[in-house]
Point group: C2
Chain length 411, copies 2
Amino acid sequence: MKFSKRIENMIASPIRKLVPVADRVRAQGIEVIPLNIGQPDIPTPPDFLSAVRSYDVNVLEYANSRGITRTLETTQLYLHNYGLDFTLDELLITNGASEGLSFSLACTCDPGDAILVIEPFYTNYRSIAESQGVRLIPITTSVEDHFRIPGIEAFDAVYEPSMRAVLLSSPSNPTGRVYTREEMQVIVEFVKKHDLFLLADEVYREFNYTDRPFYSFMQFDEIRDQVVLLDSISKKYSACGARIGSIATKNADFMAHALKLAQSRLSVSTLDQIGAGAMDIVDDQYVEDNRITYKKRRNVLQRRLERLSGVVAPTPEGAFYNILRLPVEDAEDFILWTLHNIRIDNTTILLTPAESFYSTPGMGRNEVRISYCIDETKIERAMDILEKALREYPGTTAQKPADLHVENPPV
Amino acid sequence: MKFSKRIENMIASPIRKLVPVADRVRAQGIEVIPLNIGQPDIPTPPDFLSAVRSYDVNVLEYANSRGITRTLETTQLYLHNYGLDFTLDELLITNGASEGLSFSLACTCDPGDAILVIEPFYTNYRSIAESQGVRLIPITTSVEDHFRIPGIEAFDAVYEPSMRAVLLSSPSNPTGRVYTREEMQVIVEFVKKHDLFLLADEVYREFNYTDRPFYSFMQFDEIRDQVVLLDSISKKYSACGARIGSIATKNADFMAHALKLAQSRLSVSTLDQIGAGAMDIVDDQYVEDNRITYKKRRNVLQRRLERLSGVVAPTPEGAFYNILRLPVEDAEDFILWTLHNIRIDNTTILLTPAESFYSTPGMGRNEVRISYCIDETKIERAMDILEKALREYPGTTAQKPADLHVENPPV
């Protein structure tokens, strides 16, 4: 039997592939602080499970392929509160934002076609594209430059006719950037100039720690029919286990095509939709409290990271991730070494290697992604462990005091 | 902007595309008996919702990409009771059998590669294949021949090197065939001879009205590493709204590839998995009672169909579908005409046109699929309506008494 080339080319999730190793360490009685995964520790609004518990039916039936009306209406109201107005026909409930992305690539790209991405990007962009034989064309942003989006020349330089869309997240997973209107304008100009779709992953919309209000790509009227908004309740309502996302677009043809894909998978979980439909009764304060909580965590993390010599870590402005450059050659080796060798109070940490958040070969090898979905005390403990690991790791490239060539040693 | 060729080629679900029309008829206060969709009316085991209701957590977290251990173990036990033994590593929980199929095509086929199918086939085989640019090569079976699988010569005649797998369901949706060991042996010999994967959709395993015990493709030892079993709890536990299916395979490489796809969509609904995990406490009698219920329905339906002149309808042996040939040229036109024109006691029916259950152009145009997930009284009422519709439809091709050339008219 033969496997497909696309599946053989597909990478395993770097976020999830080290999990079995961490599980083996946990099995030895060691606590492993999870800095690897975007699984919030904030309680899900109790209204979610309440709605599910009071859903009393004899038969758990298929939902409509587009989504349950109540769930669509809740999504509509949620977007309306951000000044984004859609009819129910312009919305589609998906199995998380992942399915929304998967549908979007299927609607826009044949195998061999390309998508422009801003690297480092959410690593599943790459795996979903690879699973469909879609190429990624990266615009590289860097730690040193705080992951700023470059001018349109950089985009025009990589444009090719087989490019079908631009895909990016803002606030960004994994960099934590919240793009400015000026940076967004570059993207808008580019997609308008080349008549591309813009797949805007805005699942971290609520997690904005800047003084600038959140601005959506949907608010640029000049590309109104080109934007496809991808969303999910996972992060904003701390409900990752409910696989509920959405596609919102003013492009009726796109929606008609996406609906065919939705019909081919029949429906999204009825119970998850019942819970998600009730999210319109969640107090705005819930979201604001979370934002404040994460901003504090961000501050604690950043204060600690700035003390680490040889570490380059721009301050994240949103989401709950950070990309750091470490004084090591191979971040994955460092992560595994730490997991096996570094303990403080019987505790260690798990980080995510950042290499596969880039598609340019070799980029990001000395970088890691940190997810700070844990409380401040745990962040402090995790940073103690990271500090110790960086001090003791044999493969460090940082100059240690003993290595320094000192002209006039003190006597 | 451009859409992909694969999405433009993709058909809309024939099962779901007439639903909005039926909804408009319902909005006029007309009852529409749904003979179109495989949505069982049997109550879901109460243990499903009980397990979900007593799942008490603060945070609704991501599940493991492979599945929750309890859910995997329940799947393992279920298969064991059919004499099919798998380790947990040989199992993967999917978003319904649809996702299992979607993963299987991604693992085995690049765009342009082909899958052999037995037509008429479950129409979503076609839509999922089209969405991935995978070609279907059909072996045609026919109403007249009771949808029997032909000898291996017919298979060898269509074999080509880009063929990667055989995909079929048994008991079959939409024909209701439960294949004999001899028919299965043809498939087994073919996949062995050409070193193909065999994607065996056995979601209707419980719905077998023959005296032959259910036999799984997994029981043919000679192709043990080539079989990928696709399953779902939707039908057996009347839980279509829970999107829970599974892949079971002895092929470790296949599973490793499928797991990459599972990681790229993160996880399957946690709540649905909690419910599905509790299905090990469902009494065997539940399944047996359902089987008896459906067998009675099948008998009622068949007795009525046999009375309809011009209708060819082989007796289904399993699942809860039937393909009938009608005395019309265009079944879709007949279905729409009936929906708009035929009423008995303010009630009408919705059928599914069978044309897109075939990939050979023109096949099945005068056929419909009936799903008999409704009680016997409703089946009788639905058949009254179908009888009236066939009598009054202006496009009938059946010879009416007045048209018959009678040599010696009675005097």
